[in-house]
Amino acid sequence: MPGMSKPADEMKRPMGEANHRTDGAMLLKGADMVVEALRRERVDVIFGYPGGAVLPLYDALFECGIRHVLTRHEQGAIHAAEGYARVTGRPGVVIATSGPGATNLVTGLADAMMDSIPIVAITGQVAKTVIGTDAFQETSIIGISTPITKHNYQIRHASEIPKVFKEAFHIANSGRKGPVLIDIPKDVAGETALFSYDDPPQLPGYQPTVVPHQLQIRKLMSGLSRAKKPVILAGAGILHAGASAELVAFAERHRLPVVHTLLGLGGFPASHPLFLGMGGMHGSAAANKALHETDFLINLGARFDDRLTGKLEFFAPHATVAHVDIDPAEIGKNVSTQIPVVGDVREALLMMLAADVESPHADAWMNELLATKEQFPYWYVQEGTGIKPQRLIAEIARLTAGNAVVITDVGQHQMWTAQFFPFEVPDRWVTSGGLGTMGFGLPAAIGAYFGKPEQQVVAILGDAGFQMTQQELAVIGEMELPIKVVIVNNGALGMVRQWQELFHGERYSASLLEWQPDFIKLAEAYRIPATRVQEDDALTDALAAFLAASGPGFLECVVEPRENVFPMVAPGTGIHQMVGVKP
């Protein structure tokens, strides 16, 4: 920061001294500096959409060697960047122009902020000379994006570009990850300045605690060894920290039951005998029983979201709560916490594994939970000739041997996927959790493909959410991406319809899609092979052929329209008050 440290002063040296530098500094135009910064950050793909204010930047990007994916809407570009980031753990990069281009990023920024997805969003801005004059396509994206980004920058001179990009990538992908936006006025792209990318970021106001305090770990471990009913709640922090192996080792060492949050799925193998399933509103009976009755709750990188906890007074009411989180502001925010541990969850688990303490005597508890798990699995009733959406998900899981990267949209199909697709390994599950963004799935699948092109990518989407960003089929069609799009068509905004059925006297206000487009013709218009299946006895063959085909694919599954997601914790009730735990 200016005046606070030596290297900052060094940056003020006159440019004439550039020749004497040995650190590879060079004179570049602003637009070329952006491209060079992206190269230094080893960015291999950018999702974006050009426009007036980013014309100089797009000129520099032309044939620069970094792949650019042209989505058909900026919202698609940022969700794609999110999908890429979620499966790779590296920041997704998105570019949009000023004004409407920038405002179209808003939903994705908010989504990434909620789910701690590292994103670097670059927006064009009108020239500095006209900022504040309501110039053509001017909007204050800094003002708009401040509450929904981890940080944002407006560049005032090209000389700031290396420093800002270095900081932006560092902030996006460290600590609690999140989106960072960089707003670049059009004339900055034409300015010339010295480019050097070797100085480390200097952020005195940003120093995330990575290694937890040993004393807190000791408290946690001694509390654990005295526990009678311990449980681990593992969130997406496990995935962000790459701590799956350590989680498995720790749970096995002390024989601890593990509950996942929605976003944590895949951090702990679904088939593991210690796994109780997902907790929360549509979680398993065993998971929620554990969260309600536990006397020692270890939260590893989850944020006690309300969809997980249900009514707070019934959430772990008898428990000593230990919470490991890289973001201290999450600790004690919703659930009062006796043992706060600030730090990276992998570092914490390594220290917990190194601790030499007696395992808790919790066999009775463990057996009780496993009996509940056995007694109340996720369920559906196979009846009639129609397709049960749950069976559709289970069949996709079976036919892909659970190996696919699975992306969903938001709603009933998302919950069924969380319940019926057993995620065995990390980073193959992409979904919008905190913000619950309909329209997320299709573009996120495109990004996930670019992040993991060697994996099979299956996008499971509702018929309503799909229609919010369906134009991105153009990307799949144009680039012939081998993404398999499954539409779970129940002819409704399914989750809205379910809540209206259960809580609003079956008054289906604006939730039934009685008129729909011809999805097959729609997909075919984008030159994507498309099939419709609506009979249960045709499902397996149709799915198998669809998944085995090369290239893009589109499968419309017409499912039972009145199927509901169960079990369920009704809003305003406790997680021990589940309904629909069995047929």
Binding site: M4, S5, S174, P200, Q202, P204, A329, G332, K333
Partner: protein
């Protein structure tokens, strides 16, 4: 308890907006907010007087402030020994006949008259919030025409802003 927080921030455009946007987003209410320069041109000091809140809520406020990249230091002055001052300008009805009364009234407050009109005088007073409240209620019967208060600014005792900043610099762990 009305918490008083002293927050050192980068002196950059948009930082005040970040703080107020954070308060709006999280539903934190403030009684007063002052922003001023410090002895370092790169650092500004914000003094926040919050509405009454419990300890957990205050902890959340401080943690959320800490999360801001441009926030360098957050100090809770509520219970700490501090020097805090506010300045108020009070324009009060004051016909010539009453002027002597007003002067004697404000004298114990070490307040002064900074503007004189035909019908009013403007009183300037500095002090902590309690003292200012006391003077305002004494003057109210005479008819307060207009009132302007700066909001509280504060420093911890026996720690100048300089040493606070120096400590901050020394505690920096760079590079990350």
């Amino acid at each position: 308890m009305t918490p008083v927080l002293s927050v050192l921030v980068h002196n950059k455009p948009g930082v005040l907006n970040r703080i107020t946007a954070l308060f709006m987003r999280k539903g934190f209410n403030i009684q007063s907010l002052t922003v001023c320069i410090t002895e370092s041109p790169d650092v500004s000091r914000m003094t926040l007087v919050m509405n009454e809140m419990d300890e957990a809520a205050l902890e959340q406020v401080m943690k959320q402030l800490h999360k801001q990249i441009d926030v360098l230091k957050v100090t809770d002055l509520t219970e700490a020994p501090m020097v805090s001052r506010e300045l108020a300008l009070i324009q009060v009805n004051s016909p010539i006949a009453q002027r002597a009364t007003i002067t004697s009234l404000i004298d114990p407050f070490r307040a002064s008259i900074v503007d004189v009109g035909r019908d009013t005088v403007t009183v300037q007073v500095t002090g902590d919030a309690e003292k200012i409240e006391a003077l305002i209620s004494l003057l109210r019967p005479y008819g307060i025409r207009e009132l302007a208060r700066t909001g509280l600014t504060a420093l911890p005792r026996e720690a100048s802003a300089v040493s606070e900043l120096r400590r901050l610099n020394e505690s920096q762990v760079l590079p990350i």
